[in-house]
């Protein structure tokens, strides 16, 4: 039996949806006879049973606010204390700001290997070795990585790289509530105090958006770039930006897609006036569907697109907007 753990995150007092994707990954590693899945839920949440409905065999709920991720050191200490009870074979976390901070902290303090931002995972039936694959060198190659020493083998997994399992409320619910004081880990949390949280205005941020409509230097000016915000009024979704657009001050940094911004995997990625430098492609190439609009049909992003449209974006946006209005007003 391979013991596989996932680190479940919370958002606004509930289990975050990326945690369900992790459960789907964990279940994909082997049949229930071979793989037992435990979710470690970090921080206060009112619905830990959802993790069982989505594939966990058991939940350990670290229910205190100090475990909600703002102190990576404290959450790593909590996970290390859990290892003293049972040492899993595999620990997966989401490649989110939380997962990408806590897991490296844990890896270093426990002397364990860690692979970042995997898009493929499998477990060898002989020996239970985790085979981890991630895009490397700006996404132009795929590197397959093994952990050569220590257990658990750890990886962070790119959000949206796998669909969550269907919710099944007939699955048994096993939740153990275990606070950090109960497990006796030091009060590392006191080193960092959570002072304030300011959600981005009326926005989910590009990381969780199902549709991202992004613009690049093809807009040539800030006023033009602003057309994208008008477009998302008709389509929903979030506005993204290439590095060039952010560097020119047309969009804020949290909207930047690419190696020096965020890596995203929306259902549809629409790119206006973005040629597709490697550093940009690395941030969006796992989107399910890519649509690009550019005057240059030979731009690298065109070859990475499911639909590549050769057009002047200033001509296309008004026509598309009018058609969207017409579509949406249909009875």
């Amino acid at each position: 039996m391979n013991e596989v753990w996932i680190l479940a995150e919370t958002k606004a007092g509930k289990v975050s949806s990326v945690s369900f994707e992790l459960l789907s990954w964990a279940r994909s590693l082997g049949s229930p006879e071979k793989v037992r899945v435990t979710a470690v839920l970090a921080g206060p949440a009112s619905d830990p049973e959802e993790l069982c409905y989505r594939g966990a065999d058991a939940v350990v709920h670290g229910s205190d606010a100090a475990l909600s991720g703002f102190s990576a050191r404290h959450l790593a200490a909590y996970l290390a204390a859990l290892f003293q009870r049972t040492r899993p074979s595999v620990l997966l976390a989401a490649a989110t700001t939380t997962g990408r901070t806590v897991l490296p902290y844990l890896a270093a303090r426990e002397g364990l290997g860690l692979t970042a931002d995997c898009t493929e995972l499998s477990l060898e039936s002989e020996g239970g070795e985790l085979i981890q694959t991630r895009p490397a060198a700006g996404g132009s190659i795929m590197a397959t990585i093994r952990t050569t020493r220590g257990r658990p083998q750890m990886a962070t997994v790119r959000p949206h790289s796998r669909k969550a399992l269907d919710r099944n409320t007939s699955r048994p619910v096993t939740v153990e509530v275990l606070s950090s004081t109960e497990i006796g880990c030091r009060a590392e949390a006191a080193d960092v105090a959570l002072l304030e949280e300011r959600p981005f205005p009326s926005s989910r941020g590009i990381a969780d958006a199902r549709l991202v409509i992004a613009g690049g230097k093809g807009f040539r000016k800030k006023d033009g770039f602003a057309l994208l915000f008008g477009l998302t009024e008709h389509t929903g979704g979030e506005v993204g930006a290439s590095r060039e657009a952010v560097d020119r001050g047309w969009a804020d940094y949290p909207r930047q897609v690419g190696l020096s911004g965020r890596t995203i995997s929306p259902i549809v990625y629409m790119a206006f006036g973005i040629s597709g430098a490697i550093q940009h492609l690395a941030g969006m190439q796992t989107a399910e569907t890519v649509i690009s609009i550019n005057t240059d049909p030979d731009a690298p992003l065109a070859a990475m697109s499911d639909l590549a449209i050769r057009a002047d974006l200033y001509e296309l946006i008004p026509v598309l907007t009018a058609r969207l209005e017409a579509y949406r007003s249909v009875e």
Binding site: T97, L106, S260, I309
Partner: protein, 283 residues
């Protein structure tokens, strides 16, 4: 206040090329640059120095001898000192072995009040070394910092950082010593001045090897790395591109229809009365 900034030399991303035989990244001295996100960490450190002339900033790197170029760039921006951990034994290190090495160097060169890093390097794209260094030194880590303020001094020193997370800003307070990783929101890095460049050319970069750091060969380089790349492959090209020319009116209409059809097919848009169906979070 003593600050250390971790700096990595990386290949220029837009000129990143692969060896067709081995599939590995070709690292050329000509296209090597300072990891772009490290410049923001340097900028954050230099702003402290701007307001507090008693502060000193050391730039630290691990890499081949030509990584000294990256350190000289840090010096030309205004860092006071630079040190390079170099030696063949350090080669092939994963993030764990890299962080083990850098943390030993920070102990040797320190103590530091603050350790600053870029959020991640554009070549490895892991973002793991900063938090790992913090763990080896048993310090708190504040990652994805987009704004940073100090108030008070001595034992009253209070630090505040704004972390740029997926769905908003998280503000945290902490004391020293601490490790911070910075993203671009911190503000534009300054350009080197001519005087800085001159000083950087003349400055000596301290070199550290395995003996100075008291490390064993088992904990550094490829040998000390708990992960190993076992295979390099090409990404699966799953997209067969449909090209549409929208330079004519008819072409434009067809292209817009196609876009709308795709958005409808993926359940992203719906007629207005059902519009709420399209705005929910992705399951």
């Amino acid at each position: 206040m003593k600050i250390a900034v971790l700096v990595k030399q990386v290949p220029e991303t837009d000129s990143l090329t692969l060896d067709p035989e081995t599939g590995t990244v070709v690292r050329s001295v000509d296209t090597a640059i300072v990891n772009p996100l490290d410049l923001y960490a340097i900028e954050a450190a230099l702003r402290i120095k701007d307001s507090d002339p008693s502060a000193s900033v050391l730039a630290l790197s691990m890499g081949p001898t030509h990584a000294e170029t990256a350190l000289r760039e840090a010096l030309s921006m205004g860092c006071d000192e630079a040190a390079l951990v170099t030696g063949r034994e350090f080669g092939g290190a994963d993030t764990w072995a890299t962080a083990r090495t850098l943390s030993a160097a920070l102990v040797e060169l320190g103590p530091f009040d603050l350790i600053f890093c870029g959020e991640k390097a554009t070549d490895g794209d892991t973002g793991q070394v900063g938090p790992e260094v913090a763990a080896f030194m048993d310090l708190p880590v504040i990652s994805y910092v987009g704004a940073f303020t100090r108030s008070g001094s001595g034992s009253d020193l209070t630090l505040r950082a704004e972390r740029v997370l997926e769905d908003g800003i998280q503000v945290v307070g902490f004391g020293t010593p601490a490790v911070l990783t910075f993203c671009k929101a911190i503000g534009e890095p300054r350009l080197p001045l001519l005087s800085g460049k001159r000083r950087a050319r003349e400055a000596s970069v301290r070199r550290l090897g395995i003996d100075e750091l008291g490390l064993s060969p088992e904990e550094i380089g490829a040998k000390g790395s708990p992960t190993r790349v076992v295979k390099i492959g090409r990404p699966k090209l799953t997209r067969s591109t449909e090209m549409l020319d929208a330079r004519t009116e008819a072409g434009m209409d067809a292209a817009c229809d196609r876009i709308i059809a795709l958005l409808v097919k993926r359940n992203l848009i719906a007629p207005a009365e059902n519009a709420t169906a399209s705005s929910g979070a992705r399951a």
